[in-house]
Symmetry: C2
Subunit: 353 residues, 2 copies
């Protein structure tokens, strides 16, 4: 009587070569360094005198994402962005990615197309070429593995190590919003499960939802540093949470760190959401992950160059290791920061080596 | 009364940072091009004027491997080798890999160590550096995602396209053995399932079992071609099966191909196993996958240079596309070859783009 308007094409109708052709036929190469993309045993990249950076991330359904509230297109976009962020964190330019996916037969061709739409959108937005990958079956959920290649001049690369005592600790944007967005999505999911008639209450929360569902990689910071005439002494991206990342920077540079609570940039929606969940906004900024902002250190000598740059936000300074890692609270009390972050296998979250 | 001699350490005891430290602490960099390995947001590679190749493979438990008969150490070794093979198939030298794994809590620390033992063994055997990766949880089985970087001089790279009509079609070694090994392992598994008292009957099958469980990548062929003073006109590795790979070479070079049945190299164990399963050894050589030999074309002009090189085995020649892809049987009958290969999503096997 009624047509099924939601088209569902089984992937087996195409076969796997057909699937790959279908998904990749519209892919064009735009990076000059992409010499050969999809279609051979390996892709070929021409680094032209630059150094080559590689990073990789594995995203597993039920661990890193929940398809009940994450649209596949957003998932594809985010999966690319989290990889690009790793290259941005080295002060390098992401240029190519490979994408491997494993999927069970509960995914239709249309579902995979949605996922690829997001992947392609991120590639276009960041001018990154999709040059290879692997598509396979899975007996359970969806697995997405992305590797990213970046290029940089030797002298531009910024490592996690390299900070000196006295360096200014900075972040590139506000923190805790992605975690606030996650809390809201999880609440809506559990309320919907309890009462499917329930309408989602997401008004006025668009910023934190976007930070969770469609984060951006701060590849723009490379240019901002260059324009300001500075190079960070150390840098990484905020994927696990600021506290956890600071601990890495301190460990690798053999330093301590002092962070000022009143300097942590927190968006009003994050603040309000923290309060509505009876949580401390500062703890959310310190320990919420997935912000994909950059955290980095700038030499005191460069203070004058960066003091008016709005994407270079001072939150503290590096100290001798013996001083430890501390938060100076708004009441001017010093308290040690413990990196709760999102602890990988304990909290069922992944973490990159 | 009895001590449990099989140690089982839960991964949660280490935490994820602890796990990564534990697994990677003994890893040293040996490639000159590995400028910075594990421990930052990305690894840094110095290509030093060479082109950079990247390929990636995703291996999923229950699809690509069955842990009831594949030891974890072998699995780790093979997972690396299949990637190296893709770089060898471009006539390039594999130099770095990244390894991402997702594992459920049924895997103990000791199990993961086994897997890494195999990964490290392959790295050592092939002088490849492990420079990064990702370790995460999974709600179901084991997933291994490996990306490999290779380096090559621009002029040395061999693509799948590039063959000309009249070129000699060659392979680097015998075919069908890995598939024969798989048949034996699957038979033993089903017999063991039916009767656990049963002793495995694997005598005299060591070669085909090794070809299945611990294949090698033909990275040595690059040197053999160089020493012979030839460069193949097209090349790829035999992962899905010769028939399927030939189809790729023909498609990408817009050619046809004639293969001689009596020239296909088949090991005696493969032959005997095919017969014991009532299968045609030629079909096994054409359609069995996972041999990881190279299939390539050599110009007729180079015939004199390669005719005595034992790793350069002639099996046929390229023709105009209109002639199709044919097998000349031992009875001198021409029959079209249909690429059965291992068809990815239909036969639950993966295939790389």
């Amino acid at each position: 009587m009624f047509e099924d308007r939601t088209k569902r094409t089984e992937i087996s109708e195409l076969g796997e070569f057909g699937l790959i052709d279908h998904l990749t036929k519209s892919i064009e190469l735009s990076q000059e360094s992409s010499q050969y993309g999809i279609g051979d045993d390996a892709a070929v990249i021409n680094p032209d005198g630059k150094k080559v950076l590689i990073s990789t991330d594995l995203l597993v359904e039920g661990i890193h994402f929940d398809l009940t509230y994450v649209p596949l297109k957003h998932l594809g976009y985010k999966a690319v962005v989290v990889n690009l962020s790793d290259i941005a964190a080295m002060n390098a330019l992401p240029t190519q990615i490979t994408v491997s996916i494993a999927l069970s037969n509960r995914f239709s061709l249309e579902a995979v197309e949605e996922l690829y739409e997001g992947i392609k959108l991120a590639c276009k937005r960041y001018n990154v070429d999709l040059v290879g990958g692997d598509t396979t079956s899975s007996k359970s959920g969806l697995v997405i593995s992305i590797s990213v290649i970046g290029l940089a001049n030797e002298n531009d690369i910024v490592y996690r190590k390299g900070a000196k005592a006295g360096d200014i600790l900075c972040v590139s944007g506000d923190l805790g919003a992605a975690y606030a967005g996650l809390l809201v999505l999880e609440r809506e999911k559990s309320e919907f499960t309890a009462n499917p008639e329930m309408q989602p209450q997401l008004d006025g929360l668009d910023y934190i939802l976007e930070r969770q569902l469609k984060p951006e990689a701060r590849v723009d910071m490379m240019k901002i540093f260059k324009e300001a005439g500075v190079k960070p002494t150390s840098m990484m991206d905020v994927s696990d949470g600021l506290a956890s990342e600071i601990k890495h920077l301190c460990k690798q540079s053999d330093l301590g760190c002092t962070v000022y609570e009143d300097k942590l940039p927190i968006d009003q929606q994050t603040w309000d959401t923290a309060r509505s969940f009876d949580m401390d906004p500062t703890m959310m900024a310190l320990n919420g992950g997935e912000d994909y902002e950059l955290v980095y250190t700038i030499s005191q000598d460069d203070y004058e160059k960066v003091k008016t740059v709005k994407q270079i936000i001072f939150v503290g300074y590096m100290t001798e290791a013996s001083a430890g890692i501390n938060l100076i609270t708004k009441n001017n009390v010093s308290a040690p920061i413990t990196a709760q972050g999102w602890d990988g296998l304990n909290k069922d979250r992944g973490r990159e080596s």
